[in-house]
Symmetry: C2
Subunit: 356 residues, 2 copies
DNA sequence: ATGAAAGCGCTAACAG
DNA sequence: CTGTTAGCGCTTTCAT
């Protein structure tokens, strides 16, 4: 199918390109002109060329959500929230992954070239290089993830400190005393903040013995491998705090391999409260970091930034909440923690207990 | 940051825009011109405007993967495979979701406007309207998912018939005789083909009593709800074949609610062999439909189509393979099916048995 | 209400 | 090797 241009439509309709353009865009034109043009466009199968239109108008009506780790369902959840907001404002949202194939700096630079009217970024690592590119990019940006406070970039963040406090307080209350934190890479933004949050949280609990290890990344497999190292080591904790749900699920699997009962022998918690947390058995206690809310907030910030580029940068922090499931209940015999418990009366997959 | 154009760079470097363009694009230019231009570009923070470049060149160097159900991890897996191939050829890949927010027809029509040089589509439903739009879209398309044979559109498909046969043969061999198929919506492409495949497969097993129900969609929650209906009904099967892994996981949860042991009381199988199948307990027996392979094949077809638009349309079918895990083992007491089995010697998350 | 013409930022002939 | 010029397809003054 060869591309048909507005010139051809105009010729076919017997009017000038200007009239054709006006008719097509609903600007002032006589009814008969509109009719002729629409008929011609229909007949020829005309669709306006997006690049030409964008060049002329200076807008693409397209926004992008660029994410480092699309394998993590929490980012899918955020994207869905973003899409809901921006599509209501007439924008199309595309997703761009900045994985190992292309660095986040390259992606941002590329996107800055005018393919999109704005972008929301969820980078795993905020390097100086990335900040430099971000500072001089001509397209509006909001970062979904912690940013150094000095930056004048719109920013939506979770509250890792409170999240870790909720988890540690909960474990302490359930009687756990030897807690190991299985972090993701601590040179990532979430890794660094969750590490610091954990340290601060356990500092408030002198009765707790705390240790930390790092998984290679934020995946089930890496969590599994890291937990195997922990469990085969000299000290066997009675609780493992995972830096996210995927790592937490890997930890549960590793505990199972070692013949340990969760939560009987060892409690496990995650972060993000993804759907998976409610699906594995035992259910994974997790901190909800408000993915939907963060996605929504980021989208709204971006739309406002586009509307008013001179507006001062905002930072929004979303409050976390703890969702308790079977994986972290107290050691005392508790029928609720049994995976064969009868749920016949339930209609919900996640038999959870709100807290925090 | 205001956009800086090549005109400004040229002026700053004291050369013509043509020379600036040539220097920037590595075409013939004297070393000193190149130096001056690069220096000027650097200093001004010049980035070529993508829309202008695309308009002029007639290419965007951008491909899109449009998918209906981004919540299903199998599509993420396919996208990753697609990205690997296309990025090796210098294209950027973006993902576009065609969910409830925008129909697939709208997405295709929109994308056809020139934002991308090609697209790979994974639609849930192939309507006549979609086929009509596809037939007249000026940008190369390959469809990842079954297409009517009459279409002259590049197409990569799974082999649902063989997939269902593998599952049913396996269950029959394991001694199951009362098998219920929990399909997704049968008005979707995968739903229709898996339904037909199941029917054909059980037809070869007169010893099996077969029934079917439909889940509202291909999600864990819908699978859970559908399975609850099945299990609270008059006839309780000794095996449930789920139309995909997510539904299968929901089925396992429902069985648990009813106090049924999987696979002791009831076997469960899935389709897609996603990572989740190896993570739930018991491990979910699943048919691998070759997501990686299909993604790769689709990407290659698209690149070839872009290179040679006149090339006849190809159809590629990828062969499935059965991956047996604990959820479908024989009813006879088998320690391997116990969720608390000791896996200390394993280093892999998926203790699976290849077959088929 | 309509047409002629300019021009968005860039690349590619074409002359020199 | 370089500068001048045309033009990608579209929208938008500016006259009429």
């Amino acid at each position: 199918m060869a591309r048909v241009t507005i010139t051809q439509v105009a010729a076919h309709a017997g009017v000038s390109v200007a009239s054709a353009s006006r008719a097509l865009n609903g600007l002032i034109a006589s009814p008969q002109t509109v009719a002729k043009v629409q008929h011609a466009a229909e007949e020829l199968g005309y669709v306006a060329d997006a690049t030409a239109q964008s060049l002329k108008r200076g807008r693409t009506n397209q926004l992008v959500y660029a994410v480092a780790d699309i394998g993590n369902p929490v980012y899918v959840e955020m994207m869905t929230a973003v899409e809901r907001v921006v599509s209501a404002s007439g924008y199309r949202l595309v997703l761009s992954s900045m994985g190992t194939l292309s660095s986040s700096v390259d992606v941002v630079r590329d996107l800055s070239r005018g393919y999109v009217d704005g972008m929301i970024l969820s980078p795993l690592r905020v390097t100086d290089e990335l900040l430099a590119v971000l500072a001089k990019t001509p397209v509006p940006v909001v970062v979904l993830g912690h940013l150094p406070d000095s930056q004048s970039i719109d920013n939506v963040r979770a509250d890792s400190r409170t999240a870790m406090r909720l988890v540690v307080d909960h474990l302490a209350a359930e009687g756990r005393r030897d807690v190991t934190f299985v972090n993701g890479p601590s040179d990532t933004t979430p890794g660094a903040f969750r590490r610091d949050g954990f340290a601060a949280a356990v500092a408030a609990h002198p009765e707790i013995l705390a240790r930390s290890v790092e998984a290679e990344d934020f995946t089930i497999g890496a969590g599994y491998a890291a937990a195997r190292r922990v469990l085969s080591g000299e000290f066997r904790p009675d609780a493992i705090v995972a830096a996210n749900d995927l790592i937490g699920i890997g930890v549960i699997r590793a505990a199972e391999d070692f013949g340990l009962s969760v939560p009987g022998d060892i409690a496990v918690t995650g972060i993000d409260n993804t759907e998976l947390a409610g699906v594995v058995r035992p259910g994974l206690t997790s901190v909800d970091l408000g993915a939907d809310e963060r996605g929504r907030a980021a989208a709204e910030l971006l739309l406002q930034r586009i509307t008013d580029p001179a507006r001062p940068a905002h930072t929004i922090a979303v409050a976390p909440s703890l969702v308790v499931r079977g994986s972290s209940l107290a050691r005392r015999p508790d029928p609720a923690s049994s995976p064969t418990r009868d749920h016949t009366e339930h209609t919900d997959l996640n038999e959870e207990r709100e807290a925090g």
